[in-house]
Subunit: 249 residues, 2 copies
């Protein structure tokens, strides 16, 4: 196994960082790594906002559900789906492509582009000995997040990514069994298979929490997922995403 795969397999989210900020050179390497990712048909439909302003970080941490590591970290990146540049360059050429930009295909392209870039940053950061954590919590109140970051229409903040020097080690949470995630040639909808691997996995996760919390938590993955979906429905997003110029048609 080479170093890169070792880094990838060793991933765990870090939610507590020392005060040490990333250097300008480290940030530059991470942005270059982001930009090196594949991009659908070369559209490069994403942007990254690096947030260093303390007041903005404080606000974003509050909006993301009072997560202190959104404020205290080595660097905070916010990844955005971005079709603003494409709209501007069409305008410069006297063309109107707004309807095309606002379709579901371009929404998918821009979200995927942003995520590929972000994962390059994550792997690059971890290869440098830094820790990372994605911050989906910025989707709690995107109207206020876009105000803090000054993003125009056709730019949609998707998630944050905090990077920094880990203050405490953290554990690695067991993933679904391979057979749940990886299918060969045809998607497996066999109910027996499903019940069998879910039972096994729920037992694994329950035992994992039991051990990690000295018996305070024993929930299964199923319990956790159902709870999450009910708690964070973020139903405003359907309209909000359209209001920002994405997937209207």
């Amino acid at each position: 196994m080479n170093n890169t795969i070792e880094t990838i397999l060793n991933h765990r989210s870090i939610r507590s960082f020392t005060d040490e900020l990333l250097t300008a050179e480290e940030i530059d390497t991470l942005v270059k790594s982001a930009q090196a990712a594949s991009t659908s048909s070369y559209v490069q439909a994403y942007s990254i906002i690096g947030v260093t302003d303390k007041e903005k970080k404080r606000k974003l941490a509050a909006l993301a559900g009072n997560q202190p590591y959104v404020e205290n970290n080595g660097h905070l990146f916010v990844f955005c789906a971005d079709l603003y540049r494409h709209k501007k360059l069409a305008e410069e050429k006297g063309e109107n492509i707004t309807e095309l930009l606002e379709n579901t295909e371009m929404f998918m392209v821009s979200v995927i582009d942003a995520a590929l870039a972000a994962q390059n940053v994550s792997v690059a950061a971890e290869s440098m000995g830094l820790g990372i954590c994605y911050i989906g919590g910025i989707r709690n109140e995107l109207d206020q997040v876009t105000e803090v970051l000054g993003t125009p229409d056709h730019v949609l903040p998707l998630f944050g990514l905090v990077v920094g020097h880990p203050a405490h080690p953290s554990g690695q949470k067991p993933r679904l069994p391979k057979q749940a995630v990886y299918h060969e040639n045809t998607y497996d909808t066999n109910e027996e298979h499903f019940r069998s691997y879910m039972k096994e996995y729920d037992e694994t996760i329950s035992a994992y929490y039991d051990k990690r919390t000295n018996g305070k938590r024993v929930e299964t993955w199923s319990d956790q997922i159902l709870q999450f979906m009910k708690q964070k429905p973020r139903t405003y997003l359907n309209q909000y995403v359209k209001d920002k110029g994405f997937q209207k048609n």
Copy 2:
């Protein structure tokens, strides 16, 4: 610069592979790498279909716009947004979370989860000396792709990823200037900045194609993007995605 960052910065898409198939062990390492990626609130809302069946590969290559490397490669992965498992486990517990599953938030979560997993596979594969290329072309005709792969509702194939032993080297396409993609604290909407970096970048890209094609192509990035958006609007996706149980509300 460490090996991992070198691998990431050295990325280029490979569209021509030798006949050598990936070994079972290599595929296993790549799937493990996918699973090690971050996942929003632990939902693991994606699946991967590994396609080895020659007839299926032939069909997918045709559907993706007759790209021969979709058929001829070391391995073909198809990454899917997947909320099927979540729906099933809710049903097993007598709960109905279909409306929650079908919201825009969960669409974004599942697309991002799939993309993060895929980029781990890309970096891992490249670290092993393999080449990769993403295949957005499977979104040309998703109704037929879902039939080939047997994906049920609440599973949406997003893109393919071909991996294999490169048959020919390929060049690296210049990315947008850093200032276009990376903003500090506030999104930069300054028109002068925009015109200045777009002009510079369009010249870079035009010179790049000129050199690569001995003067046969001299288009700018702007030209290419406008052309792409008009050619591949995939406007059916808005309804199709809903029909498959995603982002209805």
